[in-house]
Amino acid sequence: MSPAAHAFSSYDVLLLLKGFLTTFALALIGCLTGFALGFVAALLRSTRSPEMAPLRAALAAYALAFRRIPFLVTLMLVFFASQAMNANLSTFTVALVSICLIAAAYLSEIARGGLESVHRNQWQAARALNFSHWQTLRYVVVPQAWRVIVPPTFGFFVMFIKDTALASQIGVMELTSAGKVLGNKGLPEALVYGTILMLYFLLSYPLSRLGKHLEHRLAAAGNR
């Protein structure tokens, strides 16, 4: 067994650091974009007019579908599709698009749940005062719903950091692929993957604690 002292050269550390940051960036950008899209989808799904029914159905089908496809399959699909269309996307972009697609599906459900958690009588009061659907969302419903939406959204982001590991399979240079590189260089695999597990832990655990803290703060503040 190689001595632990032989461990990581500064180049290796840099590689791990770069992978760490790429993992974080992938998850963050993907989830933020996914949240923006998912939130808009939830707003659209909150409408009740018959003209919007096909759009609502399409969005519902989308949310259903993309929460039931493994991330690896989505990655491969986007990868091969972009190749077939000669889109010339970087592997990072392919991974980002895949994350967006999935995040949008999950986060639109979370946002939808948040909007629906606002009591019906708030809608009724607004209607009696002649608010339009969008005015009601803007002034009454969303200000009350965001408290319910933020904690699970943050939780999803923290959870997804772990899923980004699969992006290594299409060649994105994130944290897990750094492991492959270091392993090929001859470093002991147990050490390499053990270190990478620790790095994921150091990224995920504090954020998940932050998420719990956030949840308590928002719940305590009530409706303000």
Binding site: A65, R68, I69, P70, V73, K162, T176, Y200, F201
Partner: protein
């Protein structure tokens, strides 16, 4: 861009075999994970503080690290201490390690949800210890746990797709092979997507039926 699904779809027995393997992995990992989870949840609820710390560390660690890297560690790391695992075994062990932690959390909340008042009233009515467990604790805990357990099972079924990375020929692996052979990877993975959606919808439906009728649980998973 025209899509040709023919060559992919005509291999449906091959793909179905892959789906069956995926389910096997999911079910095995879930079953073993449930046992580990039950043990850990019991320790967390009733065990001495030293054991609680160890179990707590395991749960925190396993739920904050990716399953893929856990399997990498087992598959590439263990040979260095002389233990070589087949891809299937490594995947199963990794999935079980991961599942055990999540299932422990679910079972722990399940146990914690039983209210003292219920147990007291049962005891006062003359129920024996075994009877209390059978008629009060168990149904209640099953009712509370069934939705998150079902959800976890669906998540694990989707998670089996990473077994393909290690060469295990489950659904994703077979789709990948087929796509490479026929040069129709886009069509192949579209079919994979549809199959996973179908499998998980079917599983959700069956679990919801069982959950509502037998456990009388409020099922609104996925």
């Amino acid at each position: 861009m025209t899509l040709q699904f023919g060559p992919i779809l005509e291999q449906w027995p091959y793909l179905l075999g892959g789906a069956w393997l995926s389910l096997q992995i999911a079910v095995l990992a879930f079953a073993c994970g449930m046992l580990i989870g039950l043990l850990c949840a019991s320790i967390l609820q009733y065990g001495p503080s030293s054991m609680r710390r160890i179990v707590g560390a395991y749960v925190t660690f396993a739920t904050n690290t990716p399953q893929l890297v856990q399997i990498f560690f087992l598959f590439y790391g263990l040979p260095e201490v002389g233990v070589t695992l087949s891809p299937f075994t490594a995947v199963l062990m990794g999935a079980t390690f991961n599942a055990g932690a999540y299932l422990c959390e679910i079972q722990r909340s399940g146990f914690a949800s039983v209210k003292h008042a219920e147990l007291e009233s049962a005891a006062v009515l003359g129920f024996s210890r075994m009877q209390i467990i059978r008629h009060v604790t168990f149904p209640h805990v099953m009712k509370v746990m069934f939705p998150p357990l079902s959800n976890q099972f669906i998540v694990m079924t989707l998670g089996t797709s990473m077994a393909s990375i290690f060469g295990v020929e489950e659904l994703t692996g077979r789709i990948d092979n087929l796509g490479a052979e026929t040069y129709l990877s886009v069509e192949a993975f579209l079919v994979a997507a549809v199959l996973y959606i179908a499998i998980t919808l079917l599983a959700t439906w069956l679990l919801t039926l069982y959950g509502r009728s037998v456990c009388r649980a409020r099922m609104d998973i996925l």
